[in-house]
């Protein structure tokens, strides 16, 4: 009950977007352009060879297009809504988060959930269109679909915590734009949005194995295209779940410290 009573906070992002049609048009345009570009890029790269890094052309294109779609899950124009932690700290409106019977961490989680569900609706629509147009391949089997869905869910969960961590940083630094830029780049690079991870040198893969970014996108997408076989899926899912647990502990600790920080600073 305690969680449910503020569920409407989850509607903030979708409502805000619906009230601003230009943002939706821009999103459609950007997504279309990105997909067309990515698909033609990979088609071009495969023009003279059949397989690279153990992947056929169609697998590579599918991976890249899915990566673009998934990155849409949580990449909204957050600043426009003035409801980011950094803005609330800047305007001093963070005090209201601590004046309501809904604890800040729960409000934040509800907001993020709404945002991710909204992004998911976009990604799903894009996926269905791409599937119908033959840009992406369907998953290999029902089992692959199930494992992929589970892995994607866990991946988004990890992503949620990573973004939360960056937002929590603001309570101490008051700004996080540099951190966000690094995060977005690292996130896109290490999770395989720019190029599938297996094209990178070994040392890079080793480094990235110690960071949570692979768990967000690379793992679910690799499962989808079959780069990670179903036999390895269990271990990968467990790793993702481990990241969820670890990050949830860290962020919970930081919420407590942040509250004390607000209490001593006075917003």
């Amino acid at each position: 009950m305690a969680t449910l009573h503020g569920w409407r906070a989850a509607r903030v992002t979708p409502l805000g977007e619906l009230y601003t049609p230009p943002r939706i048009t821009a999103a459609v345009l950007r997504l279309t352009v990105q997909i067309v570009l990515v698909a033609s890029l990979w088609h071009g790269l495969y023009a003279h060879t059949g397989t690279t890094a153990g992947l056929t052309r169609d697998q590579a294109v599918t991976y890249a297009v899915l990566a673009v779609l998934a990155s849409r899950l949580r990449e909204l124009d957050q600043y426009a809504a003035r409801d980011t932690v950094v803005q609330h700290l800047h305007y001093g409106t963070i005090v209201y988060w601590y004046l309501r019977p809904l604890p800040p961490h729960r409000y934040y989680a509800l907001r993020a959930l709404g945002e991710q569900l909204y992004g998911f609706a976009w990604a799903l629509t894009g996926y269905v269109i791409c599937l119908a147009a033959g840009v992406v391949e369907p998953p290999g089997s029902a089992a692959v679909t199930g494992v992929f869905a589970l892995s994607l869910l866990l991946g988004q969960w990890v992503l949620y915590y990573v973004m939360l961590l960056i937002d929590q940083l603001c309570f101490w630094t008051l700004r996080n734009d540099a951190a966000i830029m690094i995060l977005i780049f690292a996130q896109n690079l290490l999770s395989g949005v720019y190029a599938p991870l297996w094209f990178f040198p070994d040392w890079f893969l080793t480094l990235s194995a110690f960071l949570p970014f692979q768990a967000t996108l690379s793992v679910p997408l690799s499962l989808y295209v079959g780069r990670i076989p179903l036999s390895d899926a269990g271990a990968q899912l467990a790793l993702q779940a481990a990241w969820v647990v670890a990050l949830s502990l860290v962020t919970r600790f930081l919420w407590r410290r942040a509250a004390r920080r607000v209490v001593s600073q006075g917003g």
Binding site: R100, G266, G267
Partner: protein, 333 residues
């Protein structure tokens, strides 16, 4: 007890790092930071009873906002204690949140991207207010604050006055017993200010809410508050009625009377001296700390003498407060 505020010896100290000027100064601050202690609020004690509106006054930097932050539970005091509607706000933040409403003048709690009514609906859910009750309360607020003309507009498109009116409504939607308002009428035009005052009067008198308000607008204080607490440099200077403050710091009134008979002998009245006499024209002024208010003085003069005309000059509250702030400053030094 139910909707009262009790403040006992409340203090708050801030520790800050002194920033030295210039480049070398900045470097030195980095290597060897110099810590400074700021006593924002020192040992403040006062009470506000249920259904009372109290104005917390003081010059810029006096510690008003800091006090309000402690009473809303955002800040923890360094020492002392406070109870709001029986709850220690900084210890039981969530329980306290249900009892109080707050507006921090320049900061909005509304959702920037959404129409105002959506913000109200989100707050309704967060505070678990039944729908019918919510609708009835919105109608009541709309009657005085005229919100319906703009409550379908998105917050980003509201004017300042409209936004603050919405913020005021938002803070009261869950029917809180105690309301904290930190400069609620900042930047409003006179018509809107009057609307807000009427609204607050209504909330205090008809709904029995307890209101603690800070403002720099003395007209507002005069129209709304019976009692004020004056603080300066974090210390409580005075806790009393407006009349008491006038008596203490604003002894600059004069009562000018024209006597019916210019030969009437005129002497001093209790707490009143004869300042000047010119035939039938007499001027009275206050005498010492026990001087009555200008209204009492006027009554006394009319009762005692037969007059054909009277006029009063009174230092307005603005002047009185200026005197009070200067006085408090002198005491602090």
């Amino acid at each position: 007890m139910i909707g009262s505020i009790e403040v006992r010896g409340l203090s708050r100290t801030f520790h800050t790092t002194v920033r030295r000027p210039g480049f070398t100064g900045a470097l030195r601050s980095l290597v060897n930071p110099e810590r400074a202690v700021k006593h924002a609020v020192s040992d403040i004690t006062f009470d506000v009873s249920q259904g009372e509106l109290l104005a917390l006054l003081g010059p810029n930097g006096a510690g008003k906002s800091t006090t309000i932050k402690m009473l809303t539970g955002i800040l923890t005091p360094t020492s002392g204690e406070a109870r709001v509607a029986g709850v220690v706000p900084y210890r039981e933040r969530e329980r306290n949140a249900r009892n109080i409403g707050a507006v921090f003048g320049q900061r909005t709690q509304l959702w920037w991207d959404l129409p105002v009514r959506e913000s109200f609906a989100i707050l309704r859910d967060i505070y678990e207010v039944p729908r019918a009750e919510h609708a009835a309360r919105l109608r009541e607020f709309d009657d005085i604050l005229e919100l319906s003309t703009f409550w379908d507009t998105r917050v980003r498109h509201l004017s300042l006055g409209q936004r603050v009116r919405c913020d005021l409504a938002a803070a009261l939607l869950h029917d809180p017993m105690v309301v904290f308002l930190d400069e609620p009428t900042i930047g409003m035009d006179v018509v809107v200010k009057e609307q807000v005052r009427e609204f607050l009067r209504h909330q205090v008198e008809e709904r029995g809410r307890t209101v603690l308000l800070t403002t720099h607008d003395m007209t507002e204080v005069e129209r709304l508050a019976e009692r004020v607490v004056l603080i300066n440099h974090g210390r409580l200077v005075l806790d009393g009625t407006l009349d008491e403050i006038r008596r203490r710091f604003g002894s600059t009134w004069q009562v000018r009377a024209t006597l019916a008979d210019p030969h009437t002998p005129v002497g001093p009245l209790p707490g009143i001296v004869l300042v000047r006499r010119d035939g039938p024209q007499v001027v009275f002024g206050p005498d010492g700390p026990a001087a009555p208010t200008v209204h009492t003085a006027l009554k006394l003069v009319i009762e005692r003498y037969e007059v054909t005309g009277v006029a009063v000059d009174e230092a307005d509250l603005e002047d009185v407060m200026r005197a009070a702030y200067v006085h408090a400053n002198a005491e602090a030094v």
